[in-house]
Symmetry: C2
């Protein structure tokens, strides 16, 4: 039975897409079947895995608008055990179009519930906002993985994100839980990095993943070659960190 994890944080540039792509690819290499769902109109997860987003006829937009079936939209990637529901810029329209629609919060959930047992993990990459697209992801998910950049502004937004998660839990998805808080772009030489990690651990205790993702230039280079870091440079710190994260996730969920 697949586990659906929404990767969300309304703060921009904290490593949501980098985590979605590289965690998904690491789980794939470990022989788990994975579906990556890109609900960000920027479609960075889609292009970062080699999908030609400019020439896509149908995307996750058409699924949410109930105009296409799952099988028509899902695509295989070049990477082992990894499929994707790609997005494109036309998803921008969905937020406005959905506002006056029935069941606007559960559109994605209705789709993913029909395929949940085909995959071990379903990861959802969210846009940097708390609008209807992100809410759709939180409503469809079993848990939320929260990437937090080791910087001050990333700390400020956490309270709001937790309130939104509580609202979704209360109104649409009683089972929603926090999978964990993942520290990203950590630089051990910087005072700010260390003080933010300390603050987050104080607030979230054992909810913080033991694995910390260090700042590593290979993670920033890999997307320009349209591949996950494990394919681009498996020996890099970035690749090692995301493999360790995949391992930690598997261990945590072993008894489920």
């Amino acid at each position: 039975m697949g586990r659906i994890i929404s990767i969300a944080n309304q703060k921009g540039g904290v490593g949501k897409t980098t985590t979605a792509i590289n965690l998904a690819a690491s789980l794939g290499v470990m022989e788990f079947s994975v579906l990556l769902v890109d609900i960000d109109p920027q479609s960075n997860s889609s292009s970062g895995l080699g999908i030609d987003v400019r020439n896509l006829d149908i995307t996750v937009y058409n699924l949410i608008a109930e105009e296409a079936s799952f099988d028509e939209v899902v695509q295989k990637t070049n990477y082992p055990n990894l499929s994707i529901l790609p997005s494109s810029i036309n998803l921008v329209g969905a937020e406005i179009e959905l506002v006056n629609q029935e069941n606007r919060e559960i559109r994605l959930k209705k789709v993913l519930d029909t395929v949940k047992d085909k995959y071990s993990f379903i990861l959802i990459d969210s846009p940097p906002s708390l609008g209807l697209l992100t809410v759709n992801g939180l409503t469809a998910a079993d848990t939320v993985l929260i990437p937090v950049q080791c910087e001050y502004y990333a700390l400020e937004g956490l309270g709001q994100l937790l309130r939104t998660i509580e609202l979704v839990k209360y109104n649409f998805n009683q089972h929603l839980d926090i999978e964990g808080v993942l520290m990203t772009m950590y630089d051990s030489r910087l005072r700010i990095s260390n003080s933010v990690i300390e603050d987050v651990r104080k607030h979230f205790n054992e909810k913080v993943f033991k694995t910390v993702i260090a700042r590593n230039v290979r993670l920033a280079e890999a997307p320009s070659y349209n591949m996950p870091v494990i394919e681009y440079d498996a020996t890099s710190t970035g690749a090692q960190n995301y493999l360790a994260l995949a391992n930690e996730l598997i261990q945590k969920n072993k008894n489920i």
Copy 2:
């Protein structure tokens, strides 16, 4: 006659807020009167300048909703010649509430046009999206300053941003022009930094500011002390870079 500049890029974490705060503070130190308008519900510009956003009764939200006057919302900051229209999380509701309203795109413009002569510069900090809030900022502006992080994903989103600017220009604001493209978080040691700058200069030529903002930890530390970098550490590379940017902006607009 004030110049209204929208600071916008839907890619998250590229330095919109850091540019808004530090360019505004640098212009203030040079004796220009500046208004910073925060239309991001994350309200990082507001808190980064020492506004206690959790205890605000009225914000820019009330201005857009036409429930309060400019004088009720505007606040002085502790920094020379710098005032702010603060935001808070209740701005999240504005995007959905505005959808079915009259004149939804020109709400901010109507407000700023009444105070344009009071300031030399009005800078607008936008959220990481191309929704109604960002469109309100683009509609109110004379020009757009586009921060671009020296990373691959930041490059990908530029085409979409330019199309949105063209749409706003065609439908709501014929005079809208590009003030310039600002390269941010530049690290001269990284191949990716240099290749992105080269690409951007090839596409945008003289529209790219000569001033480049280097990656500098002081810029990341300053917000945790609720102050612009020029107050936190005036000798830092970050402070020097933003002073140089303010200078370049003044020189460019001297004949206007």
